[in-house]
Amino acid sequence: MNRPIVRHLGFALVVLVVALLIPTFIIAQGVPLIPHPLEGRDDCLGCHGTGIAEFPKVPADHAGRTNDLCQGCHQSAAEATSAPALVIPAIPHPLEGRDDCLVCHEFGVVGATQIPGDHAGRTNDMCQGCHQPATEAAPPAAPPNIPHPLEGRDDCLGCHGTGLAGFPQVPADHAGRTNDLCQGCHQSAAETGAVPPAASPAAPPGIPHPLEGRDDCLACHGAGIAGVPQTPDDHAGRTNDLCQGCHQPITEAAPAAEAPAFPLIPHLLEGRDNCLDCHGTGLAGFPQVPANHAGRTDDVCQSCHQLSPEVAHATGPSPFPPIPHPLEARDECLACHETGAAGAPQIPSDHVGRPNNICQGCHQPEAPASVRKNCLDCHILPEGSMAPEEGAAAGGVPTIPHALERHDDCLACHQDGVGGAPRIPGDHADRTNDVCQTCHQPGPVSESQAPAEPVPTPIALYPWPEKVNTCFDCHSTLGGKQADIADQWQRSIHAERNVACADCHGGDPTLSAMEASMSPDANFVGVPAKSDIPALCASCHADVPRMRQYDLPTDQWAKYKESTHGFQLSQGDRNVPTCFDCHGGHQVLKANDPASTVYPSNVPDLCASCHADETIMAGYNIPTDQFDLYRQSVHGLALLDNQDFRAPNCATCHGTHGAAPPGFAEVANICGSCHTATQDYYLKSPHANAGYGAPKCVTCHGRYDVSKPSEAIFVGAGPRHCGACHPPDSAAGRVAQSLYDTLTVAAQAYEEAEAAVQTAQRVGMLVTPLEGRLREANTSLIIARAAQHTLDPDSVRALTDDVQTIADEVKASADAAVAESLFRRRAMIIAVAVIGLVITALFLLKRELERQLDTESYKPPDLA
């Protein structure tokens, strides 16, 4: 082979190899790779031209080279697979809104990675030249999502800054980060769709009620009052404005289908904002709030319970009877409607106990009086008739012949013609009091109908000491009724006190000629009108100087006028009693005379003579069973059977001259006038302070038919038992059970001690000292039974402990006495047996003596 050719070929090969290797060498050794991605970074000289911020400055020999030449030599390291990759930290957070890298990274604030020293001078726009977002491949330590909606919650650190109330606190390395950074990393889960809030097992419960008017979530949920779910412990410190951040109303999602879960309010709300007045205690048949609502206040009711649409949008006639009369000065609905007095419609039985202030919740005035048309606006009076305002009775419109003051309830009398008042015609039915005066105008007031005032009587004209009373002389000889009257008067206290016929009937009792003594000239009155009687009597009995000498009260007339009787009389009702009817007619006796009709034990019969008479009471819609109920009550039995004058009669509670039914709220004071200690205890109780609807004495003990109370009242759910209002498992029910247990145990201990004492007494042992102790125990038991009205089991127990102590001591002594008696009886048997032996011995001796006598062998002993 040709060596030079080989040489040449070898040389050429070497040159080729070298030629091929040079650029490689240059690249490998002399031309630095571009260590960063090139996308968006085409201005190489922007950095490398001046060498700012430690970027490698182009060498001096590169001067004049332009950007487009760089990549001729310098290749991207990523593309140069043979070269090791530079580790450039990715940007671990989204970039949106975060274009000022150096804000954080220049100094490494709030935990951000500080740029290395060789990066000094680099500007924000360079960062992403090297550092790329890592969003595509989310690192395992991805920032937690925001599990709650963001609307209205831009103050992340408000909660998360301090870890308030269990919110996740920002890690220590986040220190210094501000709210505007958070969403840089932390994304709303809802938006990312990663964790749908509703599907999350830890999803916050939705708000099941409307929010309007309920922005104070913690008012209820804070303490868990009234059965609402309490905020969990880890929510402590959270404020109302945070709640809806997590908890969303679910009413939208759970629409009307669930709404009826809260009963609707079936009545109008105007004037009825005290829901609990009625519903709190279940007063009068109103639905009582469930036990889990305890503690809720009036202002939250309507949060759940909405006005029934039927009521809210009612267009037809109201199902509740309208109020057909003006309401001015008539806010005491129950004054008339409770008993149906004066013809007013009586409230239905399921309304009993409802107070005045709720009536208008359902019952609305029919129409304002001012809207009513004057009849005469439309109707023309017949020819020749006078306009009513001229006061004439012509045209068939009678005028009003009496004063109107206190007589404004026209129908009270005129509806049924009470007391002789003209009855309204049939075509006036349903007209109400407020329309009467539209047609009927006040006319001249008849004197006889006017409220009578005390009139001086001729008592001073005919002083009795003259002993001349021709009235009596003559009437007593007339026989029949006249003689009876004379006889009755003669037995009366009036005859005894020199009050004679003429003092009431007028006339001159000194004249013997009837025509003269009974003439108008002699001021003869005759039989006084019933309506005049109270004033006639009052002319003396309301006269303080005159009554002083008899130590009699003088307020009867004033009280009578305020009484139902007096008022009805002033309305023209002639059925009602006056002084004459109750005090025995002409035979007025002193009230403390047992024969007097007003003697305490005679009062029930006196009142019953009218009030138990169905015929008389028919016009008043008043029950007639009061006397029968009273007769069997503890009060009736005590007064009428045992003649115990401490027991009340009708007048004790209703008043005598001022007789009127006491109001429900007054009951405790009425009963307390005798049962003072019990009242004192009651006034300390929750019952006394629970408002109008709370139980009064009559609620548990009855009114007329008050029965002997027993511990049984605490148990059972029947009427007049605690269980009637309080379920046994309620707090109050447990108090009742506690009182029952305490008092029953004490009563039983007392009864056992009493029985033991009786046993000891039966066997003849002295028990007087034990009886004294037993009385002490009984007194304590009586006080404890009164003290149970406080509803405070502890204070009752303090008293029953005394009972228990004394009863135990007495029982032990009584049992010891019985044991002593047994000993005595055994000793007695022994003693009697010994005496029996002696007697037997003596008897044998006697027989021996008699035998000696029979055989004449007996000789008197020789004492000498």
Partner: protein, 360 residues
């Protein structure tokens, strides 16, 4: 060989040698009694009950304190603290009632058997006085416990005395030692009960027993008593007589033992009670005197006061002087119909009034 005499006989011989007691004892004991003169033990039991009362009374007086502030408590003390105090007091209380009862039964027996007639007029009168003294014991003793029942029974009882004509009010003040029942009344009643009445009763009883001893027991089978100055044993056959000692006395002692047993039974089964302490300001609902005064109390309610007091007073006087008024010597009951009728009627009235008072 002479038998060695016991120490009792020797002591008796020593005394008898000096004081010649044998005739006295013989005179007291060795009398003979007609077998038909049955007394039904009534007088003897009354005597026995008096002895019981004397013994128990002395025991009670050792503890009893006669002052209102202390009397009740001292009785409570006797009942609860003193050994057998309850028994002593119960026997005393029952003994008092039984003594009055047997006194009355004794009187009735005498009356219906005509034993009060001549020659035993004085014995009868003295016996009636004994009944009066016994009632006085009951009246004064009843107040001593000073409980409600005692206080008010004494109050109403002494009010009966207050309506005696003429001297009533003075008598009442004398009894009560003032217008009201007070501490002075208690003091007075105690003194009378333990000093005046025992002395009086012992004296009168001694007279009564002496008279009985001297005359012997009346024999109801004899229609008419033998001549005055003789004993009942006079003229009797020996077989119809019974030696007082020991036969008759033994019979009595047996009855006394029986009565003692009855007292123990009564005291054990029905011990004396005690009401609440006396309270002059609190009148009990039902106040009545003891049963033996009930007929007086009830009578006062039924008839005018003057009658209600005068009739028993005159009746008592009539009773005292009965043998001098009813001087017929006839003893057989059916031979003296008027006296028996009056007696039965009076007794019936008294029993009726007592029952009525008991039930009221």
């Amino acid at each position: 060989m002479q038998t060695q005499k016991s120490i009792v006989w020797r002591a008796w011989g020593w005394l008898d040698g000096r004081y010649r007691l044998t005739p006295l004892i013989s005179a007291l004991l060795h009398v003979e009694i007609p077998r038909s003169a049955r007394t039904y033990y009534l007088g003897g039991i009354t005597l026995f009950l008096f002895m019981v009362q004397a013994i128990t009374g002395v025991l009670l007086s050792l503890y009893y304190q006669p002052a209102p502030s202390a009397a009740y408590d001292s009785v409570l003390f006797i009942m609860h603290q003193v050994n057998f105090g309850w028994l002593i007091r119960s026997i005393h209380a029952w003994g008092a009632n039984l003594m009055i009862l047997f006194c009355i039964l004794h009187l009735l027996r005498i009356f219906f058997q005509g034993a009060h007639k001549a020659p035993r007029e004085i014995t009868w009168a003295v016996g009636v006085l004994l009944l009066g003294v016994t009632l006085g014991f009951g009246f004064t003793g009843y107040l001593l416990p000073w409980d409600q029942r005692a206080f008010w029974a004494t109050t109403v009882g002494s009010e009966i005395a207050g309506v005696v004509p003429l001297v009533g009010q003075k008598l009442l003040i004398f009894l009560r030692s003032g217008p009201e029942v007070t501490a002075r009344t208690l003091s007075r009643f105690f003194g009378v009960h333990v000093l005046v009445l025992p002395a009086t009763l012992l004296t009168i009883l001694a007279v009564h027993l002496t008279l009985v001893h001297q005359q012997g027991l009346a024999d109801p089978t004899r229609p008419v008593e033998p001549a005055e100055g003789t004993t009942s044993a006079a003229g009797q056959e020996k077989k119809d007589l019974l030696p007082f000692f020991p036969t008759y006395l033994l019979d009595e002692v047996i009855a006394w033992y029986a009565m003692l047993a009855i007292l123990i039974v009564l005291a054990s089964l029905f011990p004396a009670g005690l009401d609440e302490p006396a309270d002059p300001l609190r009148t009990p609902e039902h106040t009545k005197p003891e049963w033996y005064f009930l007929f007086l109390y009830e009578g006062l309610k039924l008839v005018p006061r003057i009658v209600g007091v005068t009739v028993p007073l005159v009746g008592g006087l009539f009773l005292l002087l009965l043998p001098f008024i009813d001087r017929s010597p006839q003893r057989i009951p059916r031979k003296r119909p008027v006296a028996i009728t009056i007696g039965v009627a009076t007794l019936a009235i008294i029993i009726a009034l007592t029952i009525r008072g008991w039930l009221s």
